[in-house]
């Protein structure tokens, strides 16, 4: 049996459904404010990415810290209306990459005399823990190592679900746009009736 934080099977499907619902709702809300076709490529990408993250965070709810961090960052970025969300996520990645390179360059225990293997191992764990904190939203908040590991597990599981949902949505839309191109009549009648119902 996996840990209680791991969502598998039924609860994973429920999460994905919630994520999907939130995603569609969020995209619709944004498109009501400003049509996607009217946005620049950059703005549109940012809007979709942000909707996906907010949808994931909202679907997760209160069982972890990372959702709050995502929602807080999203709220901050909507108020400033700059691309701070993008800055945050690229900053995460940039800093994480820098940490990784620093590790490679310094090598094992450079310039430290008589470091025991335990010290080296501990230092490596500490460095990698720091790197891990930077890729988890809210990971740089004060939390003990056990909590960080639980956050990491929870975040990974839900990230995977987010990837799955986004992939399915893209595929569904891709299929639809192909159908429109090659067999528009097959879609048109159904679309008209369902959009009227909505």
């Amino acid at each position: 049996m996996q840990g209680r934080n791991c969502t598998t099977g039924k609860s994973s499907t429920a999460f994905k459904q919630e994520l999907l619902k939130n995603l569609l709702r969020g995209l619709r809300a944004r498109t009501d404010a400003c049509a996607f076709s009217a946005m620049s490529v950059h703005e549109r990408k940012r809007a979709v990415k942000s909707s996906a993250d907010v949808a994931m965070a909202a679907a997760r709810g209160v069982g972890a810290r990372w959702p709050k961090a995502i929602l807080a960052a999203a709220a901050a970025s909507t108020s400033s209306n700059r691309s701070s969300c993008q800055v945050r996520s690229s900053r995460f990645r940039r800093v994480a990459r820098r940490c990784f390179f620093r590790e490679k360059r310094r090598g094992p225990a450079a310039g430290v005399a008589a470091a025991s293997s335990v010290d080296v191992a501990r230092r490596l764990v500490r460095r990698r823990t720091m790197a891990l904190r930077k890729v988890i939203p809210g990971g740089d908040a004060a939390m003990d190592e056990a909590s960080l590991l639980r956050e990491a597990m929870d975040y990974v599981v839900h990230l995977r679900a987010q990837v799955d949902v986004l992939r399915r949505v893209s595929e569904a839309m891709q299929i639809r746009s192909s159908l429109l191109r090659y067999a528009p009549s097959s879609i048109h009648g159904q679309e008209a009736s369902s959009s009227m119902r909505q």
Binding site: R28, V125, V135, L149, A152, S170, R176, Q190
Partner: protein, 93 residues
């Protein structure tokens, strides 16, 4: 030198329990990693698990970015409500 190896600085009395707890969590985290599915139950050192988790999360972020980009292209030409119909129709879940 002076200390043994308490992983958790919290309290030296509880450090043994914390060590086990931590290594248990590390094992669970390892089980989530894509590589772990190939290598059945070989334990990786914690530092390796942390590193692999880091790169796994970063690669998942990249996937989300790529998929979001693709989705944003599709949304440029289709509106959301008709997308909704397509999605429901394809019976995703």
């Amino acid at each position: 030198m002076s200390s043994r190896r308490p992983r958790s600085r919290a309290s030296t009395g509880a450090s043994r329990i914390s060590d086990e707890q931590i290594s248990d969590l590390v094992a669970k985290l390892q089980a989530l990693l894509p590589e772990a599915r190939l290598r059945s139950s070989d334990r990786m050192p914690s530092s390796r698990v942390l590193q692999e988790t880091c790169s796994y999360i970063r690669s998942l972020h990249r996937e989300v970015d790529d998929l979001s980009d693709r989705l944003s292209e599709l949304l440029a030409t289709s509106d959301v409500s008709t997308a909704q119909a397509a999605i429901i129709r394809s019976l995703l879940m």
